[in-house]
Symmetry: C2
Subunit: 125 residues, 2 copies
DNA sequence: AACAAAGTATTACATTTGTAATCCTACGTC
DNA sequence: GACGTAGGATTACAAATGTAATACTTTGTT
């Protein structure tokens, strides 16, 4: 498996847009981010450029402008972040950590039963 | 409530040592980190200094040397990191995220039953 | 009293990140 | 064909971060 680039806090915002929908032009990305951030368009262009340099995003020329799309999978990146987070903060995945998450969460009844199912499966191993 | 300083990845290692045990001298911190990192003592001193500048660590002179101890609570910092992580990666806490964590975890039977208890309580709300 | 050792304080320096602005270029318009 | 304009490319620049080295100071030792 190839090595995943390190994606910074701001860059994550861009990646999340692209993972949700792609390919997109730079301006389309800017529009999608207009609601959630107050970054100037140029700032977003910079982030996109950096992501392509890191190999997290690829693009093709479509006529005169570029269409961008993710070059790395969301799930892998999420997994990496999760591990890095857990290692940093808890020194490893742990029950107290999970408990804190669960307590913090707002969950529907179905959510809860799904999660319980996961735990039951774990219990059987 | 006071504002928490932003603690970087490397600084977290130092904080975790101090949260586990304090007060400690700089050298004691260095020793505790010797196993898990290969940082030079000077590097660790720098991290300690930065943490004091940020207000995350305080110290008193004990004779000729300093004893360091945390100035911010672990739980608060952990909570902040957790929220920041979740917002960055998932755009908010969510069931898929929790499911991923649970699946990734190695848990003892007691861990599992405790977590199930939490979920049951949630279900009752 | 001079010196060595151990600690702290100061300085160093390349990278990454946040946040843009300016420059250049191709394309459509008059 | 000159010119404005929209996009991409290049450049900017301070703060944070990773990773130390060097300088200074206090104190125990001889």
């Amino acid at each position: 498996m190839k090595k995943l680039p390190k994606i910074s806090e701001s860059e994550w915002q861009v990646m999340r847009v692209l993972w949700k929908q792609s390919p997109l032009t730079a301006n389309e990305i800017v529009e999608k981010l207009a609601g959630s951030t107050d970054w100037k368009p140029k700032t977003i262009k910079t982030l996109i450029t950096r992501l392509t340099k890191k190999g997290a995003v690829k693009f093709e020329k479509e006529g005169r402008l570029y269409k961008y799309h993710p070059a790395v999978g969301k799930d892998e990146c999420v997994r990496m972040e999760r591990r890095s987070f857990v290692r940093r903060v808890y020194g490893g995945i742990s029950k107290p950590m999970l408990a804190a998450f669960l307590e913090d969460a707002k969950l529907s009844a179905e959510d809860i039963s799904e999660l319980r199912k996961i735990l039951e499966q774990k219990a059987e191993e």
